[in-house]
């Protein structure tokens, strides 16, 4: 239960970090941010990186800022930063609802938003937020910067579009318009465990009808994504039991659920149906 040996690097700037990554990634070098997923994996010796590039000392990566309609989250911003009124408006309210579902308090003081984004665990709450809100992962390497929409970034279980020499230096989320209603619900057997499924919903009301609906599902499939069929069941309808239930049914039918020893595909479908409906009820 002790990590294997590695060589430790502590760059002081993003330029230095991407330069180290270009050199060391081919030699099994990895970025260390909060370490709340990577270090346990190393303790189990399921990961044995030869080099760790610790980005915690890079001050420019600790920035959380709002510019116009975009929230920009630097690579060293901790989960706990969202458990406050730092981010204003509807997006801030939504992130506050979500953050309490992430692991436990002492994990949230170390783990980072962008680390979760890059780790791409199917059960990551922030990956569900990124997918549901069409967030952008900002990937940097010595070759330049790429802005990858969540729909292109996530490719499978812990698999992303990041190249070996690229690191996520920031994630961007839209500042949702005032009046947007949001809901987030997840289910796990014990508090703080990985979610078996989660649902994030958002919509606005215009003349009593739902517009710009978003329904994102995480935990149930290889990666989080928006479910168009569930959004279609909401668009133009009045909020209420009938539309909410139809969206739940549509989401359950649209997903290709993961199966594991505790959770069959049918169970996950049933859960998604329930969670979408509950998330919509909590948003109304």
């Amino acid at each position: 239960m002790k990590p294997a040996s590695f060589i430790y690097h502590a760059p002081r700037s993003t330029d230095e970090a991407v330069s180290l990554l270009a050199e060391l990634a081919p030699q099994d070098g990895r970025i260390l941010a909060g370490g709340q997923s990577l270090v346990p994996t190393m303790a189990f010796r399921m990961a044995r990186p030869a080099h760790l590039i610790d980005i915690n000392g890079i001050a420019e990566l600790a920035k959380l800022s709002v510019s116009g309609l975009v929230l920009s989250i630097g690579a060293c911003v901790r989960h706990a930063a969202f458990d406050s009124d730092t981010v204003p408006g509807v997006t801030g309210d939504l992130l506050r609802k979500v953050v309490h579902n992430i692991a436990h308090y002492p994990i949230r003081t170390r783990g980072t938003f962008c680390g979760s984004v890059a780790n791409a665990d199917p059960a990551s709450e922030w990956c569900c937020v990124m997918a549901s809100l069409d967030g952008i992962a900002v990937a940097r390497s010595q070759r330049g910067t790429r802005r990858l929409p969540a729909s292109e970034f996530y490719q499978g279980i812990m698999a992303t579009a990041l190249a070996e020499d690229e690191m996520v230096v920031a994630a961007e989320l839209p500042m949702l318009p005032a009046g947007t209603r949001t809901g987030f619900v997840e289910f796990s057997r014990r508090k703080g465990d990985f979610a078996i499924a989660m649902a994030l919903v958002a919509y606005r009301l215009e003349n009593g009808a739902m517009v710009e609906p978003r329904v994102g599902i995480g935990g149930a499939e290889a990666h989080a994504r928006r479910i168009g069929a569930a959004e279609d069941a909401l668009r133009g309808q009045a909020p209420g039991a009938e539309a909410f239930s139809a969206a739940g049914v549509a989401a359950a039918a649209a997903i290709d659920p993961l199966e594991d020893i505790n959770n069959s595909a049918d169970y996950r479908r049933g859960l998604v149906r329930t969670l979408v409906t509950r998330a919509l009820e909590s948003a109304a």
Binding site: S5, Q36, V39, P106, T109
Partner: protein
């Protein structure tokens, strides 16, 4: 691959000069290199919370941080709670409310709760339970731990 780092750790206000491999976790360093064995090691993968210490005032799992990362940070462990021969109010409350039995998880719970109460003494009951769900205790059933922490939170709130 056995590259060593000569680092200085500040624990409970005292300086400890240690030489560690990069892979050495903060908790192993606190216990084995610095001799402060009040911090316990449970699961070694961030689940049980027995190794919780404060780093710059924040509760962290010291099994999920490498000692080299803690250089220049203020570390506090259970040994730092007692002032002279006076126990910390939370230690007193743990005794009064019988919030421990075997005591293995106690240092982790104390540091978790001290770290959180120093920031937000005005925790709601729901928030308190959310915080205390971070750590595992197999003896008490948690109720008495909740009572002890709540009692100290109340007295901190009452203080002007």
């Amino acid at each position: 691959m056995s590259e060593r780092h000569d680092i200085n750790l500040k624990i409970n206000g005292a300086d400890y000069a240690v030489s560690v491999e990069a892979r050495r976790t903060l908790v192993d360093t606190i216990r084995d290199n610095c001799g402060l064995t009040g911090t316990h090691i449970g699961c070694e993968h961030g689940v049980c919370g027995a190794c919780t210490v404060l780093v710059d005032g924040e509760p962290v799992r010291s099994c999920l941080m490498f000692a080299v990362q803690a250089q220049g940070r203020e570390i506090r462990t259970v040994e730092g709670l007692q002032q002279g021969d006076r126990l910390h109010p939370l230690q007193e409350a743990f005794m009064q409310h019988h919030a421990l039995q075997c005591g293995f998880c106690t240092p982790g719970f104390l540091m978790l709760a001290v770290g959180v109460l120093e920031k937000h003494a005005d925790l709601s009951d729901e928030e308190l339970i959310d915080v205390l769900s971070s750590n595992l205790c197999r003896c008490t059933g948690y109720e008495n731990i909740i009572k002890a922490v709540r009692a100290v939170a109340e007295s901190m709130k009452a203080r002007p």
